[in-house]
Amino acid sequence: MIPDPLDALRIPSVPVEPRPAFADSLWRRIAGEEATVAQSATVRYFVGDLDQAIAFYRDRLGFEKELHPSPTFAMLYRGDLRLLLSVPGEPHALPDGTLPEPGGWNRISLRVSDLHSTVAALRAEGVTLRREIATGVAVDTALVADPSGNLVELFEPRAGYHERTTTKE
């Protein structure tokens, strides 16, 4: 069968599958009940191409897309981390007109169970490795760049790695 050349232009329909916690909160909001305050750690990254960024974080780093309500904003989750992706624009301009931009050295740090295999897989997929695996005191780390040049740190705990399991009141 000859493929329809117009297929390339058609927008694929994406099923909406909100996380259960989000659906629950939304339902309670609709019902007029007090919504629970999300305690997720939230980080905002600026990106040049939103669709590329969504694909990168979803397909390469295991994020889930939660919201993509406009061409300049998306909300992603990976575990308890909420990552907001914003395209620089007027709402983000400083009073003097300065616009934010991607880049810099501050970064989210994602725990992986096998850093070597993760890095090898990302490299095979053509992801830019900003720095090879470095051995630290309690973790091994590697730095990759998203398509806009924002850094993402990947880490694997070493012997002696300590993480608090409970939060003090």
């Binding site: 989000f22 909160s25 939304l26 909001r29 007090e34 919504a35 305050v37 999300a38 305690q39 997720s40 750690a41 939230t42 980080v43 905002r44 990254y45 600026f46 919201l67 909300m75 575990g79 308890d80 981390l81 909420r82 907001l84 620089p88 709402p91 400083l94 009073p95 934010p100 931009e101 991607p102 880049g103 810099g104 050295w105 501050n106 970064r107 989210i108 740090s109 994602l110 725990r111 900003r130 720095r131 090879e132 470095a134 051995t135 630290g136 005191v137 973790v139 091994d140 780390t141 924002n150 740190e153 880490f155 300590h162 993480e163 608090r164 399991t165 939060t167 003090k168």
Partner: protein, 136 residues
């Protein structure tokens, strides 16, 4: 257990600890080295590091293979929800910190961009509608 980690590069770890553990309510977890500290606030774990040399045992803030040093700054940032934005801003003003803008009011939140002593930006927001708390 499943804390989310963010690493910020600062030039002075002690000054940064003072900033984040003040009105921003972070809790110091460890500060085992002059170039490293770990703070927490809710589910967020903030790792503060100052740039170190290539031989330093801490791996996170060493230079890149080409010698490029890591630096504070940029626009990517953590976002912190506060209960009373004006009060927090008033508490911060006397400190050696700068704001990149003034409080702006959006549809569901009021927010402001504050810089830590090293020049890293932190977005503070206060929900002004119940719905806004869902999305932060």
């Amino acid at each position: 257990m499943s804390k989310s980690s963010v690493r910020y590069i600062v030039d002075d770890v002690d000054a940064a600890i003072e900033f984040y553990c003040g009105p921003l309510d972070f809790e110091l977890q460890m500060h085992p080295d002059p170039a490293f500290a770990m703070l927490t606030r809710g589910d967020l774990r903030l790792v503060l590091v100052s740039p170190v040399g290539p031989e330093h045992p801490g791996g996170g803030s060493r230079p890149m293979p080409d010698g490029t040093k890591q630096q504070p700054g940029g626009w990517n940032r953590i976002m912190l929800q506060v209960a009373d934005l004006e009060a927090v801003v008033e508490e911060l003003r006397p400190q050696e910190v700068r704001f990149r803008n003034e409080i702006t009011t959006g549809v569901g939140t009021k927010q402001i961009l504050v810089q830590d002593p090293a020049g890293n930006v932190v977005e503070l927001f206060e929900p002004i509608r119940r719905e806004a708390r869902l999305n932060g």
